[in-house]
């Protein structure tokens, strides 16, 4: 009895909080037919927003993946002064409101900021792609690190040391031993990073300047449509975002053979 209660409780909670609102977006988007929704998302402005979103993710995700693996290795496999501090700072983007992140970048690169002079040399950070990429990297930084660190701890150093005594160079040890052992953690971290990068609104909103057709990502586009009372456009673009999210999660599930026990 208690078991059923738990099960229905959990399902009901999920349905109420997640499935119903997202389902409603899908319903409203296709309310007036598929063709109508397609028109809304195939407009020049919407396509540009989607392309920009994917471009930012395509830069930010690989960068954070490489950085995440390196940082996880440094945190687990080496001892250096300030390790505890670094470990804490990695979590900062999770705790900090994205708007604050955007504002911080604005202060750093804006007129009068420490790095504000870059603009005078023709390097445009704010209201342009670099700023948006930086903001996205900032907010999506912790995911790969946080997924990889516990797995590295768990596998220990025995296999790596065995490989070393067998004549493997540090790079060979990483490529043939360490990486295969952490690959699912990396994959999961990449999925989370991608999802965060594509969905990011607050930080990007501040640094982008929200120039229509130029620095407008898909989430910003949704907001803009919504504010312009173009609800069908907002819903249709939302569906695109939701589909990308679902595809990422399903993609990982399909890749993943089973829940691997280490």
């Amino acid at each position: 009895m208690a078991r059923y209660f738990l099960r229905f409780g959990a399902l009901g909670y999920l349905a109420l909080l997640l499935l119903v609102p997202v389902g409603l977006v899908f319903y409203r988007a296709f309310e007036h037919g598929f063709g109508h929704a397609w028109d809304a998302v195939s407009s020049h402005q919407a396509v540009h927003a989607l392309e920009l979103t994917l471009l930012i993710a395509a830069i930010a995700v690989p960068a954070n993946t490489v950085f995440g693996i390196v940082l996880a290795l440094a945190l687990v496999r080496t001892r250096f002064p300030g390790r505890g501090l670094v470990n804490a700072v990695v979590d900062l983007p999770l705790a900090l409101s994205p708007v604050v992140v955007g504002l911080a970048l604005f202060l750093l690169y804006g007129r009068g900021g420490w790095l504000g002079g870059l603009a005078d040399h023709g390097i445009k950070i704010l209201f342009a792609l670099p700023g948006m990429v930086l903001a996205t990297m900032f907010v999506s930084l912790p995911f790969v690190v946080r997924e990889v660190v516990p797995v590295l701890r768990e596998i220990g150093t025995d296999q790596e040391q065995a490989a070393e005594t067998l004549g493997a160079s540090p790079f060979q040890v990483f490529r043939r031993i360490t990486f295969p052992a952490i690959r699912w953690a990396v994959a999961y971290g990449v999925v989370l990073t991608t999802a965060r990068a594509i969905g990011e609104f607050g930080a990007v909103s501040v640094v982008s300047g929200r120039i229509e057709g130029k620095t407008e990502t898909l989430p910003l586009y949704v907001q803009a449509r919504f504010e312009a009372f173009d609800t069908p456009g907002a819903y249709a673009a939302s569906v695109v975002l939701a589909l990308i999210a679902i595809a990422t999660v399903v993609g990982l599930r399909a890749f993943h053979p089973r829940e691997e026990t280490a």
Binding site: Q161, A162, E164, T165, L166, R176, A262
Partner: protein, 319 residues
């Protein structure tokens, strides 16, 4: 193949000294056991020889060459770990081939060598399995084949049978002994089990608190221990004031004799050929005596009997 020389090696971990100026010479082609209680530094010494730990002071020579500053991968050592350190995502075949593939040896050579080694460790039929599909004993044999694949100058085994059950341990010990007779590579085995060390090794280095207590053949350690620690570590011992007596050097008689003392039988343990008798004297001193089955049968000992016990051989250590 070559010997191993360790000169004045010291190693500290966060204020704890694991090795104090340890010097050891391991002859070429020998099978040597590093024996000692946990925390004695035996594993640390092995890891220093392998190049997995860097000593604060001292030198390590392999075949006369100073390798102290060489990384593990350039030392030509084969190492086997207590918990197998199997490459979980690789098949048995790929595990064994690892050292050869990172050295980019020709395919044909790798194939032949791995084949030979799997035969040597009796795992021919399991080449396509993954480590998770093997028993502990099979995993450790795979690890040994993997270590031997690169034709190491020295083979280092860190408590290799420590995670296995008693029966498999015994089998693998005998097997390792035979393997060493075939392969002749200079081998060091780390163990805390004196029986294992005595059964397998030709030479034992007994360590305690990061220092070498004695080096010698199993027989030398047993029969002429250098000190109290060695005497009590390599076998059971009765301590009578300042003298030490092995349980088999105590004779039991039913009548008093010159030099014998009275004691009561507390317990008789039959272990097949060996019979262990636990005695207690009037003064409260407990004594362990080992008899053969026949001796025990003649005496017909039972709990509560009064007997007379006399040492036939005793050892005194002068400090």
């Amino acid at each position: 193949m070559s010997g191993i020389t360790v000169v004045d090696v010291s190693k500290r971990f966060n204020g704890f000294t694991a090795l104090h100026d340890v010097s050891v010479a391991i002859p070429e082609g020998s099978l040597t056991a590093l024996l000692g209680p946990s925390g004695s530094g035996k594993s640390t010494l092995l890891r220093v020889i392998a190049g997995l730990e860097e000593p604060e002071a001292g030198q390590v020579l392999l075949g006369g060459e100073d390798v102290t500053s060489k990384p593990a991968r350039a030392r030509g050592v084969g190492m086997v770990f207590q918990h197998y350190a199997a490459f979980k995502h690789m098949t048995v075949w790929d595990n064994v081939a690892f050292g050869l593939t990172v050295r980019k040896r020709p395919r044909g050579e790798i194939k032949q060598r791995v084949h030979e080694l799997l035969e040597l460790v009796q795992l021919e039929g399991l080449a396509k399995r993954y480590p998770a599909q093997l028993s502990g004993g099979q995993r450790q044999r795979m690890a040994l084949a993997r270590a031997l694949a690169v034709e190491p100058q020295v083979l280092l085994l860190d408590e290799p049978f420590g995670a296995l059950d008693a029966r498999v341990r015994k089998e693998l010990r005998a097997w390792l002994r035979r393997l060493h007779d075939e392969v002749h590579v200079t081998t060091i085995i780390v163990t805390h089990d004196q029986e294992e060390a005595m059964e397998v090794a030709g030479q034992i280095v007994l360590l305690n608190d990061g220092r070498v207590e004695q080096v010698g053949s199993p027989r030398e350690l047993y029969e002429s221990p250098a000190n109290e620690f060695v005497m009590s570590f390599v076998g059971p011992v009765n301590r009578l004031g300042q003298t030490f007596v092995r349980p088999h050097d105590l004779a039991i008689a039913l009548e008093p004799d010159v030099g014998s003392s009275e004691a009561m039988v507390e317990r008789v343990v039959h272990l097949g050929f060996e019979v262990r008798v636990e005695l207690v004297r009037d003064d409260g001193q407990h004594l362990l005596v080992q008899l053969t089955k026949e001796e025990a049968e003649q005496l017909e000992l039972e709990r509560g009997h009064i007997v007379y016990v006399r040492p036939s051989r005793e050892t005194v250590f002068t400090p």
